[in-house]
């Protein structure tokens, strides 16, 4: 192996510190959530127990943690499916160049950079003036899409910019209809990237705070519930909740990566097309 320069070691150390900076705090609350029943919000550990986790599963004096988790999960799934479908359609549209394409592109970029509290406030005001009740599955759902759809569209741009059009031409030459070309050629090729879009859709929705603040109505989503807890809960139960929901996010991320990995492995193995030519 080639000898590394000094800059490699310096930068490696910098990178390691950066990773520690990213993960250190969350690991601390992971440890602190195992505090004993008398333990506080900081070190030292006052014994080790599962007390605060058990506390989460008992009847809560304030709030409705499990209800808010179920709502956040349902909303995340809803936003995920919508984001995948709408982003793929949008990506396909942008390949064709249509009148208004530039406007729509700038609109989606604007959606990323416009402060999220404006979306929250504006949607809340509209529902208010129309006399409609705000609810996580209507106003909350729509507000979250303004954050997830642009990410989905940008990923689709990246995917289609690298897409080899000759696959489609080959399919068409063989007499495939437009739908057949999409379903049997384009879709299988872009499928792993769609998992990426799905991951963005679910996790960004599941963790979204600002856009749901004024649009979720009387039934809180989990991030709103957690934020509410920060003002009136002073025990490590909030760390236990943080640890659990972070673990849940990590499991979701892991499932997506596993799916991408399985998909790419199957693709490598299953087809021997073209091998005879090499």
């Amino acid at each position: 192996m080639e000898k590394r320069s000094r800059s490699f070691y310096v930068l490696s150390a910098f990178f390691a510190l950066f990773v520690l900076f990213l993960y250190g705090p969350i690991l601390t609350i992971g440890i602190l959530s195992f505090q004993g029943p008398q333990g506080g919000l900081t070190f030292p550990m006052n014994g080790v127990s599962l007390y605060w986790f058990r506390n989460l599963f008992e009847e809560q004096a304030v709030g409705d943690i499990w209800g808010s988790f179920r709502r956040s999960f349902a909303l995340g799934m809803l936003v995920m499916v919508t984001t995948v479908v709408v982003s793929v359609l949008g990506g396909l549209a942008f390949r064709k160049r249509f009148a208004g394409a530039t406007l729509l592109f700038y609109l989606s970029v604007a959606s990323l950079v416009i402060p999220s509290i404006l979306v929250s406030l504006g949607v809340g005001l509209i529902f208010n003036q129309l006399g409609l009740p705000v609810h996580w599955a209507s106003s909350g759902y729509g507000s979250q899409l303004t954050w997830t759809l642009p990410f989905g569209l940008l990923i689709m741009f990246a995917v289609f910019n690298r897409f080899d059009k000759s696959y489609e031409e080959a399919a068409r030459d063989q007499g495939a209809t437009a739908w057949q070309t999409f379903a049997h050629v384009v879709l299988p090729i872009i499928a792993p990237s769609l998992l990426g879009v799905a991951l963005f859709g679910f996790t960004l929705s599941y963790d979204e705070f600002a856009r749901t603040l004024l649009t979720a109505g009387s039934y809180n989503t989990l991030p709103l519930e957690i934020f509410g807890m920060t003002t009136n809960v002073t025990t490590p139960v909030i760390f236990a909740l943080g640890t659990l929901t972070t673990l849940f996010s990590l499991v979701v991320i892991g499932i997506f990566f596993l799916a991408v990995w399985l998909m790419s492995r199957r693709k490598d193995k299953s087809s021997d097309a073209g091998k005879g030519l090499v």
Binding site: V19, T28, K96, L107, S111, L118, G122, V123
Partner: protein
């Protein structure tokens, strides 16, 4: 013509969502910013009271200045850290497998909760937190530092913690597209490591730096929750001004502040976009 029609139908869902939940709400905010409010309700009007009050109050200028200050400091720090991390991943890590693995390691926190990530600083920075007790046990300080938590320091720290990724990703993307032979050519021409960085890599990373800059500055300028939480409600930025008005049901006044914030953000982006065309860079 049919092709055009299909394209429109495919783009329609995206367009409809953005019209209903982005364009309409912003129009609504602009309209409501001219309305009036009593203590418990708002009524349609066309008056400039909200703006008069906003521009007449010295608090406004202080808070806007504070917002820009947070944005500038966070921008500088995330740029320096993000560039260094991206440089390490793109040029010092040599196998693609490791590049992807380490890159994912940096991105995973992005998919977890921001609120939890903020909360997780408390046991670190508190009066009896890890940072203070470590420094005391090392003998660096005698008394716990008070400015670690609920200060400008903790606000900026949380911003950097949350948003450095938005610099790493686009800069890394730009770096991976740099033709390695350009760097070799520079070396062959006798350029030192610094000269390669300064005259080859940095200029070619400009688009990535710009995209990261837009993300970080707009996220920080539009924030209200990080400042509220990490400063223990002791610092203010424009987002908090808006959210305070909302809590008091003063929607017209919140809307007026929101309009001015939006204008500020758009001006900043407009200036940045003159430098780079995002669409070419994906």
């Amino acid at each position: 013509m049919t092709k055009q029609l299909t394209a429109w139908m495919q783009a329609a869902p995206m367009a409809l969502v953005l019209l209903a939940f982005l364009v309409a709400p912003i129009i609504m905010i602009v309209i409501v910013s001219f309305w009036g409010a009593t203590e418990y309700s708002i009524y349609p009007a066309f008056q400039f009271d909200n703006y008069d009050f906003l521009f007449g109050s010295p608090v406004t200028y202080r808070v806007f200045f504070n917002t820009l200050k947070y944005a500038a400091i966070t921008w500088l720090l995330t740029l320096l850290i993000g560039f260094t991390v991206a440089y390490f991943l793109a040029f010092e890590v040599r196998s693609l497998k490791w590049q992807i693995a380490l890159f994912l390691l940096c991105t995973i926190p992005f998919w977890t909760s921001n609120i939890i990530r903020m909360i997780s600083w408390i046991p670190f920075l508190g009066r009896n937190g890890l940072a203070n007790s470590t420094l005391i046990s090392w003998g660096v300080i005698d008394e716990p530092l008070e400015w670690l938590l609920f200060s400008d320091f903790s606000v900026v720290l949380a911003f950097v913690h949350l948003y450095t990724l938005f610099m790493v990703v686009p800069i890394f993307n730009s770096m991976m597209r740099i033709d390695r032979s350009l760097i070799e050519a520079a070396r062959d021409g006798g350029a030192s490591g610094w000269q390669v960085l300064r005259h080859v890599i940095v200029p070619l990373c400009k688009p990535g730096i710009m995209i990261g800059t837009i993300f970080v500055t707009t996220l920080v300028m539009g924030d209200f929750i990080t400042v509220r939480f990490m400063s223990g409600s002791q610092r203010a930025n424009v987002g908090r001004l808006i959210s305070n008005d909302i809590n008091l049901l003063q929607y017209p006044s919140a809307s007026a502040t929101a309009v001015v914030l939006l204008a500020t953000v758009l001006i900043v982006i407009g200036l940045l976009l003159r430098v780079v065309d995002i669409r070419k860079e994906l």
